[in-house]
Each structure stands twice: as C-alpha cells, then as structure tokens.
Amino acid sequence: MSLLEIEKLNLSIGGVPILKDVDLAISQGQVMGLVGESGSGKSMTALTVMQLLPNGARANGRVSFDGIDILAAPEAAMNQLRGDDIGMVFQEPMTALNPVKTIGEQVAEGIRWHTGASRRDAEDAARQILDRVGLPEAKFPLSRYPHELSGGQRQRVVIAIACALKPKLLIADEPTTALDVVLQQQILELLRDLVDERKMALLLISHDLAVVTDMSDRVTIMRHGAVMEEGETAPTLSKQAHPYTRQLAQASMHVPDRQRPAPTLPLVARVGPEVGAAIGDDMEGTPPPLLAVEGVVRDYRGRRPSLFAPAQPFRAVNGVSFTIGEGQSVALVGRSGCGKSTLARMILALDRPTVGAIRLDGAEVSALPESALKPHRRKMQVVFQDPYGSFNPRHKVERLVAEPLHLLDDQPDAAERREMVAGALHEVGLAPSDMDKYPHEFSGGQRQRISIARAIITRPRLVVADEPVSALDVSIRAQVLDLFADLNSRLGVAYLFITHDLTVARAITDEVMVMHEGEIVERGPTAEVLDRPQSDAARALVAAAPDLHRALQRKLAEQG
C-alpha cells in the first residue's frame, strides 16, 4: 500500500473548480515529481494533502496518508501530522522564515510542539539537523537570525525545519526556483541525500522538467487541474506519449530561430562626427562600439564592524570592462550576488560607477548629469524580471507603454501616442485594444510582452534585460524568447541579457560573459563558453545547470 494515496480528488474554491479527478500515489522512499505550469493545480494538490487550503475551498474524493483519511481528519489531527509526519518546504526562503526569531528557535519550535521535548533537548535536536543540512554550529550558531543568512542557507534552514522530526513524506513546492543554479544543485543534492538516508517519500513540485527528471522516480504531469500523464520518469519523458508531455519537453528545450543580424549593419551612417572625434585617431574609420564599459568599479558603503571602526566598503563590481556592438546579443551570466544587477543599473545610468566610465555610442553617460541624459536614455531601455512588479498597477497599458515617450524631443500628441503604443503592442504580439486594460488583467507572459513593448517603443539600440524569463512558465518562456530573437533580427536591437539560466543564454545570445564576485572572468562565443568553460566559475555554472537531455539519458540508464 502506498504512503500517500489520492483518488479522484476534486477541489473547488469559491465554486470555481481547481482540481479535477486527480489521482496520485507515492510509496515510501519514492520521489514523485509533480510537473505543470502555473495554475495547473500542483500547489493546490500539495496544500490539500496538508489541509492548508484557503477559505471557501471544498475538496472531495479520497486522500489517505498512512491509513489516515485526510479529508475527514479534524484540525487537531492535522496539526499532529503537519510538521511531524508530513514536512513542507516552500519556494521562497525569504518569506518562509520568521524574521524576528533565531534559526534555532524556529527549528526547535516544531520539535517541542510535537514531541513535548524540553527546550534543551529540542535545541540539541535542532543542532543535529542543522548540522546535517550543512549549517554546522561552529559557523552557524542557533542564535543566528534569518537575515544574517544567504538565500541558499535560509532554504537549508527551511529544509531543517521540515525534516527535523523525520517525516514520512516531504513536500517540496518549487524548493529551488528562487535560487541560482549552483545553489539549486546543492539544495537538490541535500534533498536527495535526506530522502535516501531516511527513507522518506518526496513530493517534488516543479515547473522545471530537467530538475524533476534528475530527481524523481516517477512523474505526474498536470495541466488545468487535471493529471495528463503519470509514470516512471525515464520512459514517460523519453516516449512523450501524451501530446502535452511532448509540448512541455519541447518548450523546455526550445531554441528560437535566430537570423544573426548581418555584422555589416550600416553603423557608420548612424555615427555622428562628434562621436568620431571622441574616439581618437587610432580608431579612425571604425565606429565606436554601441556600449563600452571601461574599468568600472562600484563600491557600496558597508556595515560598520563596531561603533567607532570605519565602515568597510563593499565592492560589488570590480574593474569590469567590455564592449557590445550594434545588434549584438550578449549574455551576462553569474550566480546571484555576483554584481550583475549592479552592473546593469550602472549601464542604464540608474546608478553611477565609483571608478571607470560607461560609454553609450561614444558618449560617456556615466559622467553626464541627469538633465543631459535624456537623448542617451532613448537609446537604451530595460526589461525587468518580475512581470508583476514592473508596472504601476494603477495605470492602463497605454500609459505604461507610453512612458519612455517622455524621452522624445517632440512630444507626440494623444492620437500619435496611441498609434505608437498600438504599434509597439502589435510588435510584441498583443492587440492594440489591450491598451485600455490594466496590467492585472494580463497573464505573466503577456505582461512580459507589455514590458518589452515599453522597452522598444522609443526604438532603442540597446535593451538590458534582467532575468526577463526566469519568472515565466516553460512554454511562455519559449514564446518570449522567440519574441526577443525576432525583435533582434527585425529591429537590430542589441541585448544585454542578465541571467543565471544557461539555457536562456544558449538560446538567444551570440556571446557570453561570466561574472564572478564582481569581475568578468570569462568571455567568448556562447557555444564555446558553455561547452568548454575555462574558468572555475563558468565550469561550476555549466555543471550545475539542469539539462533535460543529460538528465534524461542518465535516468534512462538507471530505469532502463
């Protein structure tokens, strides 16, 4: 008999059906991967098992865990199960911990509540489990607060809380989505070791097929609240018998068709004489690169170690130099905290370098006052990661997309403005009628299109995209990457893609720069760097990047 059995589970919230006839079974020691795009009901399935559903939810069907009928269990019985026999790891390590309690207290809390252990015994147990998840007491005493830990370390604390009482079932809801690839690999390894060691069952929820393939014995693929396909990982994903499985797998491995923009764009025609003079004699005849970053350093004021000691400056970017040519697509990859976003802000002239110069089209934008930046800002625009946070929720799409028009010297009148917005929306595959809607009326992928429309409305020559697809589902991601590639070849926009996701870099860029601790450690053609990384930092990134092909081959070898 399986540890967890879900049969014909139907769930509706406020009368809206969320789950339809979901069947799922996990036996002891098994890893079940639950894959699907956002809104497919995978988190709701997990929350049903935990009975942590929102108000107004009605579930029927059968959910039994270890012989207990969960749907009929009273709240008191569920309190006994949660955190004891069933542990849960959440996606966002930043919000899953209580910021005003020490990590020791938070791990010990569950132990004391469930076992009635004394404070000291509970703390001993907490110490052990924290040591097991890679936070030894010598370096991470129990008295640490969550804000003193990095994202990966916090996720280890969350796992420690979930595993402290040796649960029979661990539910991990997108446990690594908020982490960079290297941390993702470490956390996944930790989860796998814990599962093996303690014979736990693991329900791993993810939108990333490569991660699930790597980790799980069986997969369940969900869409629109219903199970599409279920089976052993390797055969299911290699045969791709169900059309949706095939669609997901293809989207995960999608590489947009890119027509490389001809390197002989008529650059010279665009370069004015004043720029030519600025370059100097030695470069006579060759146009300046679109973007030149020269020896840029950025220091932040650090924390004071004590009241009287001087503050230690923190160097986020350390002596970075590179150039991007007209129409070129360059990826800047690196782990979180390596300084990529700081660099992007400086390129966008939202922040100034401590030392060094940034030239856009020959003009040193990093030295210009805000008032003189207007003509230069027109040439560069930005697309942010979070399709939810990058719009003022109170403005309609028309006004949002039209925002950069502020940079034009001749302000268009209302009719021209609407026309330009309609043009930009058309360009990104949205209808002109969408301009009278509010951003919350759109899905994540559509919002990212609006974000791109806003970025291209002034016909910039450089678009800086900060993790533009990492918040999107795989199929949406494929479409947005296609759009980026298409705009690159049609409009000749140069891109600086900031990402930790190497598949994105591979899909859409000509060159890759690898950044590590504030410095660029490697630069070269995309395929070259990703296939034969030279530096340690690049090797670590490449090795940690989940890859569906590789994962599937390994699984096939295991499962036959």
Binding site: G389, N392, E403
Partner: protein, 290 residues
C-alpha cells in the same frame, strides 16, 4: 495628469463615478457626509431657533414637537446648536487635515525621494514636533494669540503635519525600489514627475485612510480644546462644548449628551465609510474582485 490622455480621460472618469456609487460603503459614507455638510450649510440660512437666544423658561426640555432634540440648560434648541456646531467641527477638521496633508505629504515625499541628509533632517524635525503633546502646544498657541476657532485650527493642523509626513514617507520609501519606478527612471523621469505620476497615486489609499482617522481625531481634538475653553468661543456653539456642558447634567438631561455625541459618532462613521469606499474604488485590483 490632464495632458496625458485627454481622449480616454472622460469615459474613465465617468466609469469611476459609476464604480464609486456601486460601492455600498462609499455610497453610505457619501450620503452621511453630504447630509452633515448640507446641515452645516443650511444653518447659515435657517435654524429652527436662534442659538443666541436664551429662553431660561424652556431650560432642559425633553425632546418634543417644539424642540425635536430638546433644549439645554439655557433653553437653547439642541437641534439648532448641533446644526451650527457642525460648521465649527467640520471647518476645524477639514482645515486641520488640509494643513496636515498639504504640508506633510510633500515633505514626506521629498524626504523619500531625496534620502540622505534631507530625509534625516526632515524626519528629526518631525520627531521634535511629535515630542510636544498637541494639547500643550495648543495651549501655548492660544496663550500667545488668544483663544478662538482659528487658533485651534492652526494648533491642530500643525500636529497633523508630522503624521502625514511619516505616512507619506513610509509609503513612498517602499515604492522607490519597485521595478516600475526603475523603469520610469530609465525613461528619464525626474523625482518630481515620478512622485506625481507613480508615488502619489499608489500612496493615495493609505493617505485617505489616514485622512479619515485624522479627521475624526480633529473633531475630537476640537472637542477637547472647546472643553478647555480654548476652541470656539461662546456664543458660537460647538459639539465639544455641548458635550462638556452636558457632562454635569447627564442624569437629569441625558439627551443633552446623547445628541451631540451621536452627531460626532455619525460624522466620524460617515467619513470612515467614505474613506473605506474610496480606497476600494481607487484601487483597480480591489475593484475587479467585487
């Protein structure tokens, strides 16, 4: 605002009004507030009795057909006094909140936009103002300029400034790191324009809610000042002093306290409903959910 989208502005405004009146709390709050305001306005032209006319023979009459809400210890008609007193209470609260918002919100937004020493200096000055009990300073102000409605308004208004400055700054600070603000900066907009276009509309709801709270507090503060004899001077009636006068006569003439008290409660309730409804209507995310 006005130049941005003249074409789509009109239907938008009309649908906003439509939405607003479909919201029940907004409607209720609007009706109550309008009624109180109309009552205050009416008192300029007509009241059932003259409030300066003392008829000692009619003192402390219970409510009847002649005197709907009874009379006070000087025989004045309580309904008339409430009507006239509404002017005073509303004027004090409106102007005090106006002063607070008009000075406090720009200060708070400025502090948030500039940061650094501007922020530090403004906020420390705020702390200093906060450190004085409002009533004490009101006593000080009236000691210098003499008691009266105008001075009470100024005293209450000054102490609303730091409240709004803080609320505006806190709201604005949480918005500045948002990506859409970064995008606006990348679009070359300066701090003033960003504050007007992006910050203010997004903190309007918290300011409105704070405004209704301060409005209610303003009415109460006016009542306290009148109680101390520092507010509106007799014979000008005020709700606060009516309550004070009623205090010693609670047992014999409870209606003398009940009706002015109800006037205060209903006004505050109406304003709160109005603020609540406005917040729902102004927030497009909440609007869809209803």
């Amino acid at each position: 605002m006005s130049a941005a989208t003249p074409a789509s502005q009109l239907p938008g405004w009309r649908s906003f009004v439509g939405e607003a009146f479909a919201n029940r709390s907004f409607l209720a709050g609007f009706v109550i507030t309008l009624a109180i305001a109309l009552m205050a306005l009416l008192s300029y032209f007509w009241t059932p009795y003259d409030v300066t006319n003392l008829v000692v023979a009619d003192r402390m009459k219970t409510p009847s057909a002649d005197h709907l809400l009874g009379t006070d210890h000087f025989g004045r008609d309580i309904l008339s006094m409430i009507m006239v007193g509404a002017r005073n209470s509303i004027a004090v609260a409106v102007v005090a909140v106006g002063i607070g918002m008009g000075i406090g919100v720009p200060l708070g937004c400025w502090a948030a936009a500039r940061g650094g020493w501007v922020d530090e200096a403004l906020m420390r000055f705020n702390d200093v103002v906060f450190a004085f009990p409002a009533l004490l300073s009101a006593v000080m102000i009236t000691a210098i300029f003499g008691p009266g409605a105008i001075n009470a308004i100024i005293a209450i208004g000054i102490f609303n400034v730091p409240v709004f400055a803080r609320v505006a700054r806190a709201g604005a600070l949480s918005l500045w790191p948002r990506e859409y603000i970064l995008a606006a900066r990348a679009a070359g907009k300066g701090p003033t324009l960003i504050t007007i276009e992006h910050i203010l509309p997004n903190i309007a709801s918290i300011l409105l809610v704070q405004g209704t709270i301060q409005f209610a507090l303003g009415i109460l503060a006016e009542a306290s000042l009148s109680y101390l004899g520092l507010g509106a001077q007799p014979p000008m009636p005020s709700w606060g002093r009516m309550l004070f006068d009623a205090q010693t006569r609670m047992v014999v003439a409870p209606y003398m306290a009940i009706f002015p008290g109800m006037a205060i409660v209903i006004t505050v309730l109406g304003l709160n409903l109005l603020g609540d409804g406005l917040r729902d209507v102004l927030d497009p995310r909440l609007r869809r959910r209803r």
